[in-house]
Chain length 339, copies 2
């Protein structure tokens, strides 16, 4: 099975990265799964500081660490050759290694040779190594919520993480299901659906949120957008395989054209809702939207309040900004609809 | 670039296959591209007879052949080891090799070693080896027609081949664009879009039907169906990348549930038309349906006439069965709409 299963806790490799923007994944791991981050592995005092204890691999192993996570994006996307020794040191000390790089660690011979000989796992979470079965469209027990969007990069992962965290805090039975690299590292499990061979995307999504108990919720991280000229196929396969009961639409109200596709307009929210429901009905007879998640980070507090209120009124749905307001209103709506 | 480009003419490898159903691709090649099939390579008199001259590779090379095509499906999908010698014989004689097997010839060491050392090409047309760029959604010159369907396996390839053939016969400027293995072998060019990594399906479709002169038509073979629980993502990526001006809906009027997915109903034709137009509008402002292609092979002549007439009347579109009636009515509609 090609679903990654990464052992926690983690030692986070920072190396000599000194630009916090290049360490976004590491900061995300520290914030979203703090209990799983027991230390940082830095090559110098000038490197980014995650405010975690500094450790070398052998110290991390003594402290209980199971996996070295490369939570940074080196310039050019390639791991510097000078880092190979530190990764091999971690493998020798007893750690698995997980990375979200375009480059596959498992294809760097000096690293993969050591990993294979010691029986360590290498998780290249941006990739999948095996084929999945094709999707079946068969209904399976358990409930599923999928975050969808009017574009890429506007909060689908963050919204899903916030909803699953809020549900767990209320004592509900929920799992976050990761479909992209950062989410996989945060949850320790998942599959990068955009890296799956096209014929098997729906099947991969089915495998990611398998049959469960009737009241259990999978909170599935969405990808792409149905109206996106490059990635809509991934989105549709993920919808069909996830067979969501509930959907949350993520949107950035200041965005009028797609990120890095400026010739593509953002569709109106009601158009998006209708299209997503129509797509979801292929594998779920009764999908519902349970909320709208707006990214209002570039707005003033009063502007944000106003657009949240206005969007909620016009669409008749709870409307939140996960960072500004939290997602309680969406969890309330879930509880109201499914009890 | 990962678009296959196979040199014609072909020597068709039949081997010892004695069941015509296992040689469907070979018969298709003989029928659709007869000028490119200069001989058959059989191991025995009992093998399927394509009614082409029997030749061994060296004879075929003397007659001008460029590529040995494995146009059969061996039991189990694996090439028998006993055939390897004949393929190596073909490579040594000067032929490239093309195959539509699940198994990759390029991963059989004794075959790939010879191919590499002699500089011959191996085309595993069911696979793609390289990544494509992601789709852009940018409009490009030239016109495009895409066949779509209410299900898999109901005539999308046949319809596209018939339309491109009829257009060429009228002196129109058209190219068939293959998206599946048999189509690629027939046209000598194309990409198996369902084997592309999901993020790159739309980009692969863009590469397959590149910018062209204003009056040129690409007639693109469709894949899957928007309502299919396993393959809809492939279909949507192909639509977005193809940015079709014209669409033809393929349908089997006797089918009420999907092939091998009997829990999935076939949607009504008007529902399908609306959904396909909505999907196509993401990358083309004015897509039109120009016809319906029905597979009436299991009907009597009078039943077929009746359903063709009734479908045409109710949808207001030309309705053909490519085998029974030809596709002239669709080419007429194209000529009427785009002149």
């Amino acid at each position: 099975m090609a679903i990654h299963n990464i052992k926690k806790p983690y030692l986070l490799l920072v190396g000599d990265i000194d630009d916090p923007r290049s360490a976004k994944t590491a900061f995300g791991l520290r914030d979203w799964t703090p209990d799983a981050c027991i230390g940082q592995f830095r090559f110098s005092e000038n490197a980014v500081n995650l405010a975690l204890p500094d450790m070398v691999p052998s110290q991390a192993v003594s402290a209980g660490a199971k996996t070295l996570v490369i939570g940074i994006a080196p310039a050019g996307g390639q791991l510097p050759n000078s880092w190979h020794g530190s990764i091999i040191e971690a493998l020798r000390a007893g750690l698995d290694v997980a990375a979200g790089l375009h480059q596959r660690l498992s294809e760097i011979p000096e690293i993969s040779t050591v990993a294979v000989s010691l029986g360590r796992q290498i998780h290249d979470v941006r990739h999948t190594s095996n084929k999945f079965p094709v999707g079946t469209g068969l209904r399976r027990p358990g409930r599923r919520l999928l975050t969808v969007g009017t574009d890429c990069a506007l909060g689908k992962k963050y919204t899903a993480l916030a909803i699953s965290k809020a549900m767990l805090a209320r004592g509900l039975n929920a799992d976050f299901r990761a479909t992209g690299q950062t989410g996989i590292l945060i949850s320790g499990r998942g599959v990068a659906v955009d890296a799956v061979v096209a014929d098997f995307v729906a099947g991969a999504a089915e495998a990611l949120s398998p049959a469960n108990t009737a009241e259990h919720w999978d909170i599935i991280e969405g990808q792409g957008a149905l109206f996106h000229p490059a990635y809509a196929g991934v989105t549709l396969g993920l919808i069909h395989g996830s067979q969501p009961d509930a959907l949350v639409l993520c949107h950035d109200p200041t965005r009028t054209v797609m990120d890095r596709f400026e010739h593509m307009p953002i569709v109106p929210l009601d158009t998006a809702i209708a299209a997503y429901l129509s797509a979801a009905r292929v594998t779920n007879p009764k999908p519902h939207f349970v909320g709208i998640s707006l990214n209002t980070s570039s707005m003033s507090s009063s502007q944000a309040e106003s657009i949240l209120r206005e969007t909620s009124r016009s669409l008749g749905l709870p409307c939140v900004d996960p960072i500004r307001t939290g997602v309680a209103a969406i969890v309330d709506e879930l509880a109201r609809l499914y009890h």
